[in-house]
């Protein structure tokens, strides 16, 4: 059965902490571009940008957008055809600090594709990665700079992320696995 690991308040707290960490590592909100990976990463990126604006009301609004990676995946020939989502990269990302945002970090292949996609939009000075959940089992040399929750899991388990903007309710749950 499914077990809730983060409720709505905990998700909000995690995103607030991540926003502070982003500001700290970037030494302020300047030159930041927050790009979410569809579907749920886009909603998370929007929220992080909003939180940063609340923390630093005097600064210019932080640019946020979406970066679809469908066309850059390495498994296109092996699964059924995926329908891509929209890419909306605000203004120029040349020289910017881009923070990629995704809901779950697993094998790292999506992030690999995102890095390739990003390169076709411009040349950021720095690229960082923020994820709500890091569940381990990396297949590539990729790690997250900002993590909402580390969630050691078995490969048989499934992590579900629900967000208000996308699903109408909000929680992170884990289900399946041989132990249950």
């Amino acid at each position: 059965m499914s077990r809730i690991v983060l409720n709505q308040a905990e998700i909000t707290r995690a995103l607030t902490r991540i926003s502070h960490e982003i500001l700290e590592s970037n030494r302020g909100p300047d030159n930041l571009v927050i790009l979410g990976i569809p579907t749920r990463g886009v909603a998370l990126a929007r929220r992080i940008a909003d939180i940063i604006e609340r923390i630093e009301p005097a600064a210019a609004p932080v640019a946020s957008g979406s970066l679809d990676v469908t066309m850059y995946r390495d498994d296109l020939a092996h699964t059924r055809t995926r329908t891509p989502s929209r890419t909306l990269v605000p203004a120029s990302i040349d020289g910017a600090t881009v923070v990629l945002v995704d809901d779950v970090l697993y094998s790292g292949r999506t992030i690999r594709a995102a890095l390739d996609a990003l390169g076709d939009h411009g040349r950021p000075a720095i690229v960082r990665l923020a994820v709500l959940v890091d569940r381990g089992h990396r297949a590539l040399p990729i790690r997250a700079d900002f993590v909402g929750k580390n969630l050691p899991s078995s490969t048989e388990e499934r992590i579900n992320v629900h967000l208000l903007e996308v699903d109408g309710d909000e929680f992170v749950s884990i289900d399946g696995g041989s132990a249950e």
Partner: protein, 316 residues
């Protein structure tokens, strides 16, 4: 989607998905790097048994923007002019390792034969077959109309309630047929206008209103008027006395163009016979989408190639 042979058997959802993907592809052409790695290592063969520089370079540009390798095969000066059959050509392409075949053929149904014969296991795109269909042209037309009407908010939308008048050689036009099926699937209302001699004998089952009088059709105030090319190469009989009479009665001349509503869209699949079916003033006006149609053609063909050639073909 395994093949794209006609718009008649395209469902509304599939059509809108394809148009939406084309929106993403159109965004790619505004970026710094106008190329995607999606079809790297795949081979697209442009198999053209009829001359069509415009369609061929459009497909070629689309395939190259998706990083596919492109082989152009034109019947002129090839093994076909030495008498090779479609079967042998197809098997040759299969042996070369074609993943997608874009075929234009003077015989209606040739793409269907290629798709169902088992001679080649590749995605087949119909780029115009005889007087049957030209699905990517209709898709790019629908895409162009949708973009003009809804601009950035086009995604997910159909063409419900849009009135489209198609004028010209309906008898020979695969563009008219493909547009009729697709536009009505998307919810548009289609009127066809032509001289009586340029309508098919039997139009039962065609979901279109028929008119012989262009002036009536223009006064009805259509949202879109689509002029078809008079295809000199198919005019092997006397369908109208001479081109001047055609132009006077069924051409979009300056006077008729001036009577159109300012929001109307004037379309033409190209290449245009200026002064015959369309006047220069109409073709070069702000209402004209002729060049948008060309640009959108690349996006539509990228979307079609993506849908056909990505994914596991066994599972689709």
């Amino acid at each position: 989607m395994k093949h794209l042979l006609s718009t008649k058997d395209l469902s509304r959802d599939d059509a809108i998905t394809l148009l939406d993907i084309a929106e993403d592809m159109a965004d790619v052409s505004t970026r710094e790097v106008r190329k995607l790695p999606t079809l790297r290592g795949k081979t697209v063969v442009n198999l053209f048994f009829e001359d069509s520089t415009r369609t061929r370079i459009s497909f070629e540009a689309a395939a190259k923007r998706l990083s596919a390798d492109v082989i152009n095969f034109s019947a002129k000066g090839s093994s076909v002019s030495k008498g090779e059959s479609l079967k042998d050509t197809a098997q040759t392409l299969a042996a070369i390792g074609a993943d997608g075949v874009v075929i234009r053929h003077p015989a209606s149904g040739a793409p269907q034969v290629l798709a169902t014969s088992g001679w080649i296991d590749a995605g087949i795109i119909n780029a115009g077959d005889g007087t049957h269909e030209h699905p990517t042209q209709a898709l790019l037309d629908a895409f162009t109309i949708r973009r003009r009407l809804h601009k950035a908010a086009s995604r997910g939308k159909g063409l419900d309630g849009v009135t489209v008048t198609i004028v010209g050689d309906v008898l020979h036009s695969r563009v008219a047929r493909s547009n009729l099926w697709l536009l009505t699937t998307l919810g548009a209302e289609v009127t066809m206008v032509a001289p009586p001699t340029l309508f098919p004998m039997d139009m039962t089952g065609w979901p279109a209103a028929v008119s012989f009088d262009l002036d009536d059709a223009i006064d009805a105030g259509p949202d879109v008027i689509m002029m078809l090319r008079i295809q000199q190469e198919r005019m092997n009989a006397a369908f109208f006395p001479n081109s001047r009479e055609y132009s006077r009665r069924w051409g979009l001349d300056d006077e008729r163009f001036a009577r159109l509503a300012p929001t109307s869209i004037v379309m033409h699949p190209g290449p245009m016979n200026r002064g015959l079916e369309i006047s220069s003033a109409a073709a070069d006006s702000a209402a004209s989408t002729v060049l948008e149609q060309v640009a959108n053609g690349v996006s539509i063909r990228m979307a079609a190639l993506y849908l056909l050639m990505s994914g596991d073909r066994e599972e689709s």
